[in-house]
């Protein structure tokens, strides 16, 4: 080494060793980097002037310490800002040099589910459950309203029953009840609380008048054959069991013993959504405003020509904006509930010539139904089942404070206007209350606390669900039209549609009776009792 003055030589030696140390432990230890910086600073400031050497191991304890500290803090702040910018520019962060609209759906998805209600999310969950390869299926659920303010799911009374007359309905309901029984085995997510549906197991009680008692007996046989636990009660047994009922005009009653009751639909929706999102389902809040499809002409057996449309892109429009994203998709599922008819009309279903198959519109339309919350302090107690009277009035207990939910399906000719969700209290005064007070005398004195209205996805053809493919649109599956039973059948319908899409046929519950062809063949599958 050349003969430098002593101090600089010392610094030079020190410089080499410090450089090595600095490189090795850079940015792992703040103190070390401070020391390094201090050392560099010392070095830089010492080069122009041949200062008296300070002992290197004590160089960070200099006299001008405060100025040093401020400078170091600034430098640290600048390093931190630099590191943040670098991290943002790296892949994995959501910064991009172009302005992107937040919440856009992906450009491509395998299955697009139109409608984010309980049926849509159940289908998404089961599709992800059944995919055999991780990320083998990209599922997108498109929901118009993030607040769910008009969605039928959350406005429903939340009841589940097996007392139907069609075997398929009973099986759907029983499968759904089994799903709800084991809901934490299905829908538990790590680090989240277990699902609590607040299920009340009070059962349903149907009352039949003289002329419909034979229908109730036939239904009872069907239900027992299908495995539902139901009991028939004569009027005297009914009076003994529920003394608060007025049994005039009741010929027979049917009480559900197991797997029947009501629960919180919002909890089920959120549980399904949380689990599906954790499994990789994409969620988009936007409205489906149109489709891009390719058309082919097909000849049907009686010589007519129809347009068969295959959906290529689903146009999803962002909320409060004109911007839309065309999502390229293989399969589209219409689970839009009350708006399913609108979605079907976007594909020209029902807009063709009247005599042909494309002229038959999709028979699902929204129907408004009212639910009134009443308070009656002398009303029936904890054993109140979900009572459904022969006149159509229904009533169930809500909580423990003497509140009840009640309502009635209006006549066909008196359907309320569906342009809004305003409640008609006159309907309660004139139609619901007299019948309710007739059946339960304690309800002669009550007070209406509040009310709300919701839409049924009403199937005008036969008031039962429509599940399957449309002949004119070979890649759109329908899962709608449940006319008030969508919530209680949703887990099973989700499984059935997932099986239909992935396996090509039904495995657990056979819903071929709910296929769309019954609409074209004009063979309705009517249920004997509907609320």
């Amino acid at each position: 080494m050349r003969t430098w003055p002593n101090g600089l030589a010392l610094h030079c030696e020190r410089r080499v060793s410090v450089k090595v140390i600095g490189v090795c432990v850079f940015s792992l230890n703040k103190n070390t980097s401070l020391t390094t910086i201090a050392m560099w600073r010392k070095l830089l400031s010492s080069v122009p002037a041949f200062r008296a050497p300070k002992a290197p191991c004590r160089s960070f304890k200099s006299s001008s310490r405060r100025a040093e500290k401020d400078f170091n803090k600034d430098l640290e702040a600048q390093f931190r800002a630099f590191r943040e910018k670098a991290a943002a520019a790296m892949p994995g962060s959501d910064w991009s040099p172009f302005e992107l609209t937040p919440g856009l759906p992906p450009e491509r998805a395998d299955v697009v589910i139109v409608g984010g209600g309980v049926v849509g999310w159940a289908i998404a969950y089961w599709l992800k459950r059944k995919e055999r390869v991780r990320d083998g299926l990209r599922v997108l659920v498109v929901e118009k309203d993030p607040t769910y303010s008009q969605a039928s799911t959350v406005l429903s009374c939340g009841g589940i029953r097996q007392q139907f007359s069609l075997e398929e309905n009973i099986h759907l309901s029983m499968t759904s009840a089994d799903f709800l029984k084991n809901i934490n085995n299905h829908l538990w997510v790590v680090n989240e609380e277990p699902v609590d549906l607040q299920f009340n197991h009070s059962g349903y009680l149907f009352l039949a008048s003289e002329k419909s008692a034979h229908i109730m007996e036939e239904n009872y046989l069907t239900q027992r054959h299908a495995g539902a636990k139901v009991a028939l009660l004569s009027p005297s047994r009914l009076k003994e069991r529920f003394p608060w009922i007025n049994t005039d005009g009741v010929a027979l009653a049917s009480l559900g013993l197991e797997n029947e009751g009501w629960f919180d639909p919002w909890s089920l929706l959120n549980a399904l959504r949380r689990k599906a999102v954790s499994m990789g389902v994409y969620q988009c809040f936007g409205e489906v405003t149109g489709f891009r499809y390719s058309s082919n002409v097909a000849e049907i057996t009686d010589g007519d020509f129809v347009d068969v449309k295959r959906i290529k892109y689903v146009n999803v429009q962002m909320p409060n904006s004109l911007e839309y994203q065309p999502v390229e998709s293989a399969v589209v599922v219409n689970a839009a509930g009350a708006n399913s008819g609108k979605i079907a009309a976007m594909l020209g279903i029902g807009l063709g010539p009247e005599e042909s198959i494309s002229g038959i519109p999709f028979p699902v339309e929204p129907r408004k139904r009212f639910v009134y919350v009443v308070h009656c302090p002398d009303g029936p107690g904890l054993d109140t089942p979900f009572l459904i009277d022969s006149s159509g009035v229904y009533c169930r207990r809500e909580g423990l404070g003497g509140n009840y939910l009640t309502g009635m399906s209006p006549e066909e000719t008196e359907e309320p206007d569906v342009s809004n969700l305003d409640v008609d209290y006159e309907f309660f005064q004139e139609k619901v209350w007299p019948r309710l007070a007739n059946r339960i005398p304690a309800f002669e004195q009550l007070k209406v606390s509040s009310a709300w209205a919701g839409f049924y996805d009403y199937n005008t053809f036969d008031q039962n669900g429509i599940v399957g493919l449309h002949p004119l649109v070979p890649n759109m599956y329908f899962a709608t039209g449940f006319s008030g039973h969508g919530l209680q059948q949703s887990p099973a319908v989700g499984l059935a549609v997932a099986e239909l899409i992935l396996d090509g046929g039904y495995k657990t519950v056979n819903l071929s009776a709910f296929d769309l062809k019954r609409i074209f063949l004009r063979e309705p599958m009517l249920e004997r009792n509907i609320v």
């Binding site: 538990w188 609380e193 013993l257 302090p377 009303g379 404070g401 003497g402």
Partner: protein, 264 residues
């Protein structure tokens, strides 16, 4: 040596993971902050599929015992009859029972072993069952549904008994006289409402049900629902907001006696 060290490490790691996953499921709902290991595990669970699978396996393993204890003992029922099948099931779960017409109870010892004397009376139906502290759930009840002379059932402190279990008890509606569901953490009001099908019930114990927010009100409603039943385990003033200003009055057996209770 490296392999054995690795496997030893993995086993210890998996033991930690077992403990962690158990704590993940149950402990996170408690107020105590999770330990560093659990937090690390959850963070890794977000990033690595392997860790996600391990946590999933542990969840499966944890519930495996419950599932295997609650299967339907079909062979026993088919070969020896319903009564012996049910008796065998109860003893396997470490419960105890008494046949109708006999006074002695059949119990397993502290290590779960039991004698097979019950097999000598295949026609004797079971009258009293004590399943306290067992892991029976609604699936396991399949083994007992044929016992239509069952008079007394004790489910004290069963962690898997929930509302769906209580809803299935309607099969004993003609015979059950005494039911004890105290200290079952999963039972709520919705399940107690299902007890309306047990018309012969005379004694019901609902003490220590943590998910009831107003036990006094629930007691009143149960007494109204089952007029011949004596409900124990909840005082009338439990659940009232201001117990010091209000005298604990004798509430009458109406649902209207709830003016003092504001939260439910």
């Amino acid at each position: 040596m490296a392999a054995s060290l690795l496997s030893h490490g993995m086993r210890r790691c998996s033991a930690h993971t077992c403990a962690a996953a158990v704590a993940v499921r149950r402990g996170l709902s408690s107020a105590a902050p999770p330990s560093v290991f659990i937090r690390l595990l959850l963070k890794l669970n977000r990033y690595f599929y392997d860790v996600e699978h391990i946590v999933g396996w542990n969840e499966w393993a944890r519930t495996k015992l419950v599932r295997s204890k609650n299967t339907f003992f079909g062979y026993a029922q088919q070969r020896f009859g319903d009564n012996i099948g049910a008796a065998y099931y109860i003893l396997t779960l470490r419960g105890s029972f008494r046949f109708a017409g006999q006074t002695e109870w059949f119990r397993p010892d502290s290590r779960g072993r039991f004698s097979y004397d019950f097999m000598s009376t295949p026609d004797a139906q079971i009258e009293e069952v004590d399943l306290s502290g067992t892991i029976i759930n609604h699936n396991g009840l399949d083994n007992l549904v044929k016992q239509n002379k069952l008079q007394s059932l004790s489910l004290r402190g069963c962690p898997e008994v929930d509302d769906w279990f209580l809803a299935r008890l309607h099969v004993f509606g003609e015979s059950l006289v005494e039911l004890d569901v105290s200290h079952c953490p999963c039972v709520t009001v919705g399940g107690l409402a299902a007890l309306q099908n047990l018309r012969k019930l005379q004694r019901l114990d609902i003490s220590g049900l943590s998910r009831l927010q107003s036990p006094g009100l629930v007691r009143i409603l149960l007494e109204e629902m089952l007029p011949h039943c004596q409900v124990t385990g909840a005082e009338y003033e439990q659940g009232l907001i201001q117990p010091d200003t209000r005298e604990p009055t004798e509430e009458d057996h109406e649902a209207s006696a709830n003016t003092g209770v504001r939260h439910l």
